[in-house]
C-alpha cells in the first residue's frame, strides 16, 4: 500500500538515478499547467518562485498579509550544509549520518542522503540571491558548530538566519509575481482540498478580509504550511501557525505520519500567568556556560541566592557526568520536567529550573559573559524584568517543532496523487528528533531542488483531464466549507475559542508532552472527544463569516487541533517504545533513559482517516548505511 518509490542503486546515486528516470515537461508546454502552492515560508516561497521561473502558472496562497511573514522568519541559529569549507572532516556522508542518528533511526535513509547532497546547492543559491551570510575578513563564508555534531557546518546570518533566507525566497517570489508567472493570493486561508477522480485538483479558500469562500482549480497542489506545535496552545511557534491545511487534506485521504513526534526545546522562558500567549526560545548556546539546578528540597521557596551550595541539586551534572549540562534537547527537557514534578521547580507556578551563570561570571568575568550572551541576557530582561547577571535565569522546556506530518514518498507526494507536501508539513527527513539548523535546510531543499523535478515528473507521466471550479466536485466541497463556517458562527455558546484551545493545550502538554504513559494517554483520549463536543456546542464567535473575523479564523484552526490531538495520542499510545522526542515511561533503561524497540517499531506509522476512526499503515524502515545503535550520554 505505502510505496516509498525510492530509486534503486547505491545511496549516493539514487537521486541522480531518480532524476534521470523522471519525465520532463518541455518549456513550451509548461504554461499549459497550473500549480497551487499553499504557504509562503521557506518551502512554499522557494517552490512557487522556482515553478514560476520554469514557466508554469503558479497560484500561491498565504493567510498572512505578505508572504514575508511566514514563521520561517523566526528561525535563529543557522542552516547546515556539507560544504566542508573548514577542512574539518565534513562530507555529505557525515551530514547524512549525523541526521539519521540524530533522528534516532526513524527516518528514511534515502531521503536524508538526498537532503545532505542538496545542502551544497542551497548555500550557492542563497548567496546568489544576496543573503547576507556571516563572512570572514577575506570575504569567504563563515560557519559555526551547532548542537550534536563535531564539525563546523552551520552557515548563519547573525541570529536571524531564518529571516534572511526567507527574504531571499520572498524576493525571488516577488520577482515572479511581477513577471506574471505567479499570482499571489494573500490573506486567503485554505479550508479544504478538492479531489477529483482520485487526484488533488484544487482547494477551497476563505478570503480573510471579506469572508468570501472561493474555489481554485489546478493540475497539482503543493502544501507547504508548516508544523502543528500550536496544538499545545503554548509553543514557540507564531500565533497563527496551524494544522488546518494538512488536516483537511488528511480528511480527504492523505495519510498522516508519526503525528506524536514533537520536539521540545529545553531553554525557553517559563510561563508566568494564565494570560500567557506564547513562549520565547532562548538560544541553546546558553547551556555552554550556564549550570542548571533546582533546590534539593521540594517546596523550597527561598530566593536562589539564599539557598546554600549544599542544598542545590545540579541534576544534569549529577546524572550525566560526562555530558553534564550539554545533554541533547530531549534529555535536558525530560529531566527538567521530572524535577518540577517532584515539587522542586522554581518561580511562579513552580514550572521552571535555574540556569545559573554565577560560576561562569566568577571564572570568566562579567565582560566575557556579556560579550558571548549579551543579547540573550537583554532579551531575558526585557521579558522577565530580571537581571541574569545578578540572579539565575529561569528556564523551562517548550514545544518547538513537529517532526510528524503528512506521509510522502521519495517524490514528496502524499497518498493522494497530485498532492505534494514540503517542509515541516511533511514527515520525511528528521525521524523522531530534528537536529539544530536542519529545518531551514529541509524547507529550502524541498522547495528549490526536489519539487521542481518531482512535480514535473508527475505532470509528464499522467494525462490530466480539464477541471473547472464551476464543476460539481468543487461546488460540493465549497458548500461543505460554507456550512462548516455557518455552523461555527451560529453556535453562540459561552466560551471563547482561546479558552478551549488553552484547555486542550494543557491536556496535551500534561499527557502527550515530554513524557507519555499508557494511563495518561488513555485519560487524554477520554477527555479530547468531550472537549471537542464542548467546542461544537458551547463556543462563542462574535460577528459573522462575511467580515474580517479573527475569532472565526482561530475557531477553524482549533476545531482541527481538537481532531489532530486525538490522533497524536493514538499514535503515542501505539508506539510503546521511546525514541527521540517521544518518551514512553514504560520503555526506559534501568537508569531511566529512553529505550528504543527496533524489533517492533522500526517503521513509519502512517494513519488513514476513516469515518469510523483511523487505520494504521506501516512503512518499514531499513538501515543499510547507518548502523542501529542506542544513544548514551552518561
Amino acid at each position: 500500500m505505502l510505496e516509498s518509490k525510492v530509486p534503486s542503486g547505491p545511496i549516493d546515486k539514487k537521486w541522480e538515478q531518480g532524476r534521470f528516470e523522471m519525465k520532463l515537461v518541455n518549456p513550451a508546454n509548461r504554461r499549459k499547467y497550473s500549480i497551487i502552492v499553499v504557504g509562503s515560508g521557506l518551502a512554499g516561497a522557494a517552490a512557487a518562485a522556482s515553478f514560476g521561473q520554469q514557466g508554469y502558472h503558479v497560484h500561491c496562497f498565504s493567510f498572512h498579509d505578505s508572504p514575508r511573514r511566514a514563521h520561517s522568519i523566526a528561525a535563529q541559529g543557522g542552516i547546515n550544509a556539507a560544504k566542508n569549507y573548514r577542512n574539518d572532516g565534513d562530507s555529505v556522508r557525515r551530514l547524512f549520518y549525523d541526521t539519521v542518528k540524530g533522528g534516532d533511526f526513524r527516518s528514511r535513509e534515502a531521503n536524508v542522503y538526498r537532503l545532505a547532497q542538496i545542502s551544497l546547492n542551497i548555500i550557492d543559491q542563497c548567496v546568489a540571491q544576496g543573503v547576507p551570510f556571516a563572512r570572514e575578513y577575506g570575504g569567504l563564508l563563515d560557519t559555526r558548530s551547532f548542537g550534536g555534531v563535531q564539525v563546523s557546518r552551520t552557515f548563519y546570518a547573525r541570529g536571524q538566519t531564518g529571516q534572511q533566507l526567507l527574504l531571499g525566497a520572498y524576493q525571488a517570489l516577488e520577482e515572479q509575481i511581477a513577471a506574471g508567472s505567479v499570482t499571489m493570493h494573500s490573506r486567503r486561508e485554505m479550508l479544504d482540498l478538492v479531489v477529483v477522480n482520485g487526484r488533488a485538483r484544487g482547494i477551497i479558500t476563505r478570503d480573510l478580509v471579506t469572508g468570501a469562500i472561493e474555489s481554485h482549480a489546478a493540475d497539482v497542489v503543493v502544501l507547504a504550511t508548516g508544523g502543528y506545535s500550536n496544538v499545545f496552545f503554548l509553543s514557540t511557534n507564531a500565533k497563527a501557525s496551524n494544522c488546518t491545511a494538512i488536516w483537511r487534506a488528511h480528511r480527504r485521504g492523505a495519510f498522516f505520519a508519526n503525528p506524536c513526534f514533537t520536539q521540545i526545546h529545553p531553554t525557553c522562558i517559563p510561563v508566568t500567568g494564565d494570560y500567557q500567549s506564547k513562549l520565547t526560545l532562548m538560544s541553546e548556546s546558553l547551556r555552554n556556560d550556564g549550570r542548571v539546578w533546582v533546590p534539593k528540597k521540594a517546596g523550597d521557596k527561598r530566593a536562589p541566592g539564599d539557598i546554600p551550595e549544599d542544598e542545590r541539586d545540579y541534576y544534569l551534572e549529577r546524572r550525566y557526568p560526562s555530558f553534564g549540562n550539554l545533554v541533547p534537547r530531549d534529555v535536558a527537557s525530560r529531566n527538567a520536567k521530572e524535577v518540577c514534578d517532584e515539587g522542586r521547580g522554581v518561580g511562579p507556578g513552580g514550572q521552571g529550573v535555574y540556569l545559573d551563570f554565577a560560576d561562569a561570571i566568577r571564572r570568566l568575568g562579567e565582560a566575557v559573559v556579556r560579550e558571548k550572551y549579551g543579547n540573550l541576557f537583554d532579551m531575558y530582561e526585557e521579558i522577565t524584568g530580571e537581571n541574569a547577571y545578578k540572579v539565575p535565569m529561569r528556564i523551562y522546556p517548550a514545544v518547538h517543532y513537529t517532526m510528524g506530518g503528512l506521509w510522502v514518498d521519495y517524490d514528496l507526494m502524499s497518498t493522494i496523487p497530485g498532492l505534494f507536501v514540503a517542509g515541516e508539513a511533511n514527515f520525511s527527513d528528521h525521524g523522531a528528533n530534528r537536529l539544530g539548523a536542519s529545518a531551514l535546510m529541509q524547507g529550502l531543499a524541498d522547495g528549490y531542488f526536489v519539487l521542481p523535478y518531482t512535480v514535473a515528473n508527475y505532470l509528464g507521466s499522467n494525462v490530466l483531464e480539464k477541471v473547472d471550479p464551476s464543476q460539481q466536485a468543487f461546488a460540493e466541497i465549497k458548500n461543505h466549507v460554507h456550512q462548516q463556517v455557518d455552523r461555527m458562527v451560529n453556535i453562540r455558546g459561552k466560551r471563547t475559542v482561546d479558552s478551549i484551545h488553552r484547555e486542550l493545550g494543557r491536556l496535551m502538554w500534561t499527557e502527550c508532552g515530554m513524557a507519555r504513559s499508557e494511563a495518561g494517554l488513555q485519560k487524554a483520549l477520554a477527555k479530547i472527544p468531550a472537549l471537542r463536543e464542548e467546542f461544537w456546542t458551547n463556543v462563542n464567535i462574535v460577528g459573522t463569516g462575511e467580515e474580517l473575523n479573527q475569532s472565526l479564523e482561530k475557531a477553524g484552526r482549533v476545531a482541527d487541533f481538537l481532531e489532530l490531538a486525538e490522533l497524536m495520542c493514538i499514535d503515542a499510545l501505539n508506539r510503546t517504545e521511546s525514541c527521540g522526542g517521544h518518551f514512553r515511561v514504560e520503555s526506559q533503561t534501568p537508569d531511566g533513559e529512553a529505550l528504543r524497540d527496533d524489533e517492533h517499531f522500526s517503521y513509519v506509522a502512517a494513519w488513514e482517516w476513516t469515518d469510523k476512526g483511523w487505520n494504521l499503515h506501516k512503512e518499514p524502515l531499513t538501515f543499510e548505511y547507518v548502523h542501529l545503535a542506542q544513544r548514551s550520554y552518561k
Partner: protein, 250 residues
Amino acid sequence: MNITLKIWRQQNADAPGQLATYQVANVTPDMSFLEMLDVLNEDLQAKGEPPVAFESDCREGICGSCGFMINGVAHGGHRGTTVCQLSMRFFKDGDSLTLEPWRARAFPVLRDLIVDRSAFDRIIQAGGFISAPTGGAPEANGILVPKDAAETAFDAAACIGCGACVAACPNAAAMLFTAAKITHLNVLPQGQPQRQQRTLDMVAAMRKELFGSCTNHGECEAVCPKEIPMEFIARMNHDLRRATLHPHGD
C-alpha cells in the same frame, strides 16, 4: 494595574471609525502589551462584543505583523522594540493609552488596528531582488563579499517591513523601507548588475503608491524597531542620482 484604553474601532475599510474607551483591570507587569489586549478581547467576547482586531504572529519582534500607534508613537516608543515585545512593566497604574492604526494614504485601514501594507510588496516587486533563477548559482565561495559589505547589507536587510517608518513620518514616506532594501542589495557584489535599474524602479514604485517624500525629520529612524539608520536614505539618494545620470551604468 488598571489601564484605560482608547482604541480606534472601524468595522471595515469603508465604514467610518471612532475611538472607543475600555478599562482593563488586573494588568500585571509580566504581561506583554498584546497579552493585555488578549485579555481585553476575552472580556469583550464574553459580553458579546466584537474583539479588537489587531495583527501579530511571532510575538518576538521578527515577523513584522504587529504595529499600531500608542499615544501617537509607533510601536509605543521603546527603542528597538516592536509592540509585541513591549512589556506592561513600562506602564503604570491609571495610565490612559490611545491606540490607533498606522495612518497613511498608502495603508488603508481594513479593520480596527489592521491596515493593508501590500504597497510594500509592490515596491519589492519593482526591483527588490537579485535575479538568480534556481539552479544557476555559482559555487558560493566563488563570490567574495568583503566583511564590511556583508555587515552593511545585513544591517539594512534586518528591516521587518512593519510600516512603522511610514506611520511615524509626517509625509507618510516609505523612504526608510525602500532605502533599506536598495542598500541591502546594492552594497553586495551580487547586486551590481541590476543596481541602476533596481534603484530607478523601486523609487518609481514608491511614488506610484502615493507615499510621500523625505524631508529629514528622522521620525522613521527613531521608531524603527530594527534601528535602521537614515544614512541608508542618503545612500539611496546617491544611487538614484547616479542611476538617473547613467541609467546603463557608469
